[in-house]
Amino acid sequence: MVKNNSKIQAFDVVNVILMLFLMGVALYPIVYEIAISLSSASYVQANKISVFPKGFNFDSYKNLVQYRIFWISYKNTIVYSVLGTLINLTLTSTLAFCLSRRELLFRKQITLFIIFTMFFSGGMIPNFLLVNWLGIYNSIWAVVLPGAISTYNMIIVRTFMSGIPEEVIESVRIDGGNDLQIFSRIVLPLSKSAFATVGLFYFIGHWNSYFGPMIYLSDKSLQPLQVILKEMIVDQNIEGLGLRMSDLKDEMPTSEMFTAASIVLSIIPVLCVYPFVQKYFVKGVMIGSVKG
């Protein structure tokens, strides 16, 4: 018995160490990025940064302040994310409500019409041509409309709404309420947590997306943060900053530090909000996996 006990403890110790290690792995790249953005250039260039910043300063961020296109894109990302999420939620909630009503005429056919799109799509180029054809290329609508409903998220909300007891809905109907009133007075307030979940999914999706904006927007002043970041990271293109190779002296931040500062600023909103909303995300995955 005593032997058994010590064996259990050994397992627990190893397991806890492993878990701490995994938490470290999850956080390390972000910590490293913050460290680089706060260090001075000589340490970064000598490859001396591992966990903590060395030669602590805010120069990378001070330089970023002058990078106008970065802030324009930051503003664009906020606008696209907010407007996009509003459109997403409006369409998703009304559609999910209708499909959750068992008496809906042609319910089966409509559901099939929608579910089919999860398994087959026109593909990248027909979508691209459609955006051109609709005349919304290079406008905010090209960013927020093509993904206006995620069928997966809609199913999460529909499943949630189907769980609302029929008697509650009947009681409104008996009082003479129509479907609009059932929706606004009963179903909407009761589905708040489902909206929180899919709303956050949508919002994060907009905040993080780069591919759609990259192919649908040609105007630099319309581009969101992720596209600008992509240019810094992949194309190594930091135009408009006024930094020339000859300007990059020791005390000037290097392009790595500049990129690091941009990345840190881009994920700060996510980092700040995430711990508080995390439980909603998990809930969404659960509902989604019960009835995919």
Partner: protein
Amino acid sequence: MGVYSRLTNRSMIKRQERKSKTLGTLIKQKYLFMMLFPSLLYYFIFRYIPMYGVIIAFKDYNFISGIWGSKWVGLKYFKQFLQNPYFFRTLRNTFIISINSLFWFFPVPIIFAILLNEVKNTQFKKTIQTVTYLPHFISIVTVVGLLKQLTSPTTGVINAVIMTLGGNPINFFMEKGWFVPLYVISAIWSDFGWGAIVYIAAISGIGQELYEAASIDGAGRFRQIWHITIPGIMPTVVILLILRMGSLLDVGYEKILLMYNEGIYETSDVISTYIYRNGIRQANYSFGTAVGLLNSTVSLALVIMSNYISKNVTEVGLW
């Protein structure tokens, strides 16, 4: 004749009755349909018109003539792709990347969920979950950015370690052999925690009394995991594995586009990135659509197949 006409009359009346009943329901549900309309319009415009648009794969599409006016060319673009030297390369890379992701990534969330379940302190458990789910919410652009900074041959910490150990710095993003490992490792970093949620839920569904009984019988932690936890989550594992097989052709091309460069196309160029370069960047719309159609048709077949297998093996399917 009279009987016949009376019969058709009766069935016509019946049909009319049914029609007016449908109409009646429609009127009764007018608000529902009002709410439904914008969404259906959305699906029609943004999902079904592009599906119709795939016919340009069989045409010589140009902007001026439009979809209808362009000339039919039959299977020209399909043949062009199948005879293309890049056909084999993109197909091979798609499968190599997909199978490697499956093989290396798939077990990680399962093992993580099982070990997490062995952590007894609830508060600590919650902290672990919060921290390990976080990378899922970091954008792929940022993930690739982090990866580039960490592996930078001049300023990256990984090469600093390699050099301290006496090795030569490796320019990871320029080496053909490193592309797939980088892709898979970053995918594991992004989703090992998030992917575990489903398994954590499955484990929490296992009755606590099973563990108690086993521990009374003298089963240690490993035997409890082996005989209770693993069999308990097996159905979930099987379903997810089968469904994953259905999306074998869906590789994360948005991430690959950020990671690859001309020097390593040999190991990194996949079907979707090829479509992007040829279809959108070089404006070969018909050719790109043909390749995409080929891709999504095979994908659909794989989904149907894996769903069929799933239904037979586990009695759970997507539809």
